[in-house]
Symmetry: D2
Subunit: 301 residues, 4 copies
């Protein structure tokens, strides 16, 4: 069992830290919001980020955006960040979903300080965090990943090695961009069928087992009533929020800009989500509510 | 066993007629190209479309476009079409992929003449036609479909009932529009990953089992070398041609126009296929060659 | 002065016929709506389309869509159309905005009957029709256009010769597709500026005299309040309706399909207009109301 | 006459500094490339950026990107930038085209140090820089702009006040995003017309004086041969390069992200330029070469 420092105790980080404790690890936590520090039963309360990063084997962070991760590890210009203070036998795992450039900048600095570092963004949402069934998509050295496995396995059920530093972020961003295309494309196609007189359930059944089969259609159908367990059938409540998809699509645009890659469909999907949000105030709804943009009349049903 | 009239003996229709014969049906064939009439072993050679439509139980047509189907069944204005001459106990099955409006116009006229008619476009390509493993997506009366099952089962392995007359066309068009979005979206996402240093095979493996999983990624990967059996790994030869996908996307646009439905992603996919065709002369390549538009350098490998 | 037959006396055709009379021509009119036949002071009331096409020098039609024009001139299959009955010294001018294929089919048949025919779609709206200031974009033989000039000049102030038969339709469709791109692009850019703190009027002034200057920005600003005389400043009332722009964009898609031309921006503009119409019930508003899609909050001001 | 410090002596900055000297100002220059420091006849050679910023009335910078501007003025974290050293009666003018967030961050710091600062990006290209006919789009206080006018007028012929700090950048980004839409839209429309048999020159003449008139069509026609003086008629050489347009479109995406604004047409135009660049290696061609994407056959003429 390891001693783990853990920073970032929000909706995702809190349950993740709890699962580490349940698995028998010693966990020292810290968050800028004092209440959150007390919110993880069985955890040691760190007095600062630096305290949580001291006298530990593994350090885990779960933060909202790239500038938080840069600030934590690299400092803000006026004073150095955590990396400068950490013991070189510490394994650092950043589970935040951020831009690959930030992930790579932090990892490069870690290497310079003699530290092993992984970027390990997750999918699976708050349910996955609570159930310990998250998927980790990991970038970094194979050896560091081997070392990290017991830690990650306490929090998730799938671990993928995407490649070198930053590759975890890139792979997650790619996955979620394609997911946005699938979801919007599925919603658009179902609307086209319904407009032309088809039953959305019948059309879905046909396409699921044909060449249009895809995750959004098969397990997360966006048309209300087709799949009782899907958010679409409960007023698009819960699930994966439009605002989070917009964040990930923003990262996709940024990533494509870095390599001057053309992503016409990803860009259009991103803009459709912006239009959805603006025209239907849907930021807090599940991302399958893109169906509203194509069938606004569904809002009144 | 039934006596079947069969019109349209091209790459699809020829093998379909053969499979009817293999199943024990008597088949009377006709095509405007005389050589094709002789190309189906065991078939009776009709002397005209009308001859092939006379003294039969079931009539099957497999033609390129809506105006051919209208011309055959409704005539060309100067003289009436086949429907006017057919015995009212004949079951008519049009397997062509055409615009729903034409399918509905012909079916309406059939009903007026007292004939049962189904639109039953297929997917599965020439391999499916030869192997008798086509998928039929059927529009029309349930009772007519029950009557048609033995005939369709001789040519295919999946039969879906999409709804009333024309619904088969609409459902197939929806499926193929979404397929185009999946394929172009997958190619775009793989290119983004590769541009950012990921291995296309590793990225594919991750996304396949994550929320970006879809038919194009999972069974028809467009990136060369990822899936040895896919057209992408054999120079995009064979498979489902870009020109056929363009035809189906044209039908999707026409269908969306009829109901004034917004299909921004479908329209963009259609335009990406036009750009692919114009910029890479790719009309005769498999439709997964959309990868070229995102990674033109692959053409030289 | 000529004797003119005139078919189609709606919002556009009625005032056009009146202007011909004001210019001194003798005009025999017909419409399927009997009341309209009486609505043109000074006109001779035709008893049928054929009557209006008999004993005249010039025949003018102003109809809603391609199938009306085909039906009038070519007949409906069961009986021949007007062309078969017209005297060969009649000059035929169709002012309808229709698909180029229909215009070319009708013109080809006219030639076969020995008749000179022009397609001459108009722009300028009902105000232009009433004021006699329409723009005519003409396809057909130069000689026929010379003959038509006195007639067209009685109804409009600009006459362009776009090319051979059908070219008038194609040029008008091209113009209006680009106009839709200009309008949506201008609305999008103004919204981006405003979202980032700019004053829409100041931004407009800068762009008007810079490289972003365009007709939509310069004379028809879509942002409320920037240009007092524009429809945007009067609740998007009147002007050129969203539904008419959608019709023209539909013709653009059809025209691009005929030549398999890529029109990604035109297609996206078309879909944005569909989304506008569906999400804001804007079919009856001026087409500059595309601004609502980008700034839905403007609806409440 | 003023004493001016000038940093950044590339293709734009060099001629701009020369024009200041021609107008009678004393100019102290600096660049990280030593050769460039000697390249401005009549200038005083600064020994460092700080030297060029000392004992002057006005300081002008012309740098490639936001991080250069941040680095120069704010420092790099380890040591403070120029603003910390400048005399508070210095007027600072940054003529770089950069992201508004960087412009605003630098301006905010300038204000804190008691300095007046303007963002004043230019348009007009190297020809405008050499001829002293640049357009300046300025963000900042009206009073600072009044003070800056004699300096700006020595380098340009048009000066617009867009608003507060950063507004110059935003307005320029808006203008150039709309310009990209106009250019791609015009190229697309001309290709559609030509594909359908129209002469590009005739179609251009019609649209120029109709509602599709726009800067790209009217003064910079992208179709070869239509406008002899346009880059299109000289192999798309010179002019405003595709790579520069891509940079500006990248800034537009970044700006839209900051406010979560939907820019579907701007995003599509950006992706069309990426596709152009990748498929036709066109980064070094004039931006009207987007015509190649629609008519690749033109490359061989």
């Amino acid at each position: 069992m390891a001693t783990v420092g853990f920073i970032g105790l929000g909706n995702m980080g809190g349950p993740m830290a709890s699962n580490l404790i349940s698995a028998g690890h010693t966990v020292k936590v810290f968050d800028l919001v004092p209440e959150l520090i007390q919110s993880v039963p069985g955890a040691l309360a760190g007095t600062s980020a630096l305290d949580a990063a001291t006298d530990i084997d593994v350090f885990v962070s779960m933060l909202p955006a790239g500038h938080h991760v840069r600030g934590l590890y690299l400092g803000d210009g006026s004073e150095p960040g955590l990396l400068a203070h950490m013991s070189t036998d510490t394994l650092v795992i950043d589970c935040s979903t951020i831009d690959p450039a930030s992930a790579q900048a932090v990892a490069a600095q870690a290497v310079e300080q003699g530290l092993a570092m992984l970027d390990a963004p997750v999918s699976g949402g708050t349910a996955g965090a609570q159930g310990g069934t998250l998927t980790f998509i990991v970038g970094g050295e194979e050896q560091a990943l081997q070392q990290a496995r017991p830690i990650l396995e306490a929090m998730g059920s799938n671990i993928f090695h995407a490649g070198a530093a930053g590759a975890g972020q890139i792979a997650k961003i790619c996955n979620n961009m394609l997911l946005a295309i699938l979801m919007a494309g599925t919603a658009e196609t179902l609307a086209l069928g319904v407009d032309n007189g088809l039953d959305p359930g019948v059309l879905s059944e046909i396409m699921k087992v044909s060449s249009a089969g895809n995750w959004a259609l098969n397990v997360y159908n966006p048309f209300p009533g087709v799949m009782p367990s899907a958010p679409a059938s409960s007023g698009y409540k819960g699930g994966f929020l439009v605002d989070l998809m917009r964040k990930d699509l923003g990262l996709a645009l940024q990533t494509a800009q870095a390599t001057q890659s053309a992503i016409p469909l990803g860009s259009l999907a991103q803009n459709l989500y912006q239009l959805l949000s603006e025209n239907h105030d849907a930021g807090g709804l599940d991302f399958s509510s893109i169906q509203y943009l194509y069938k606004p009349g569904l809002k009144n049903t």
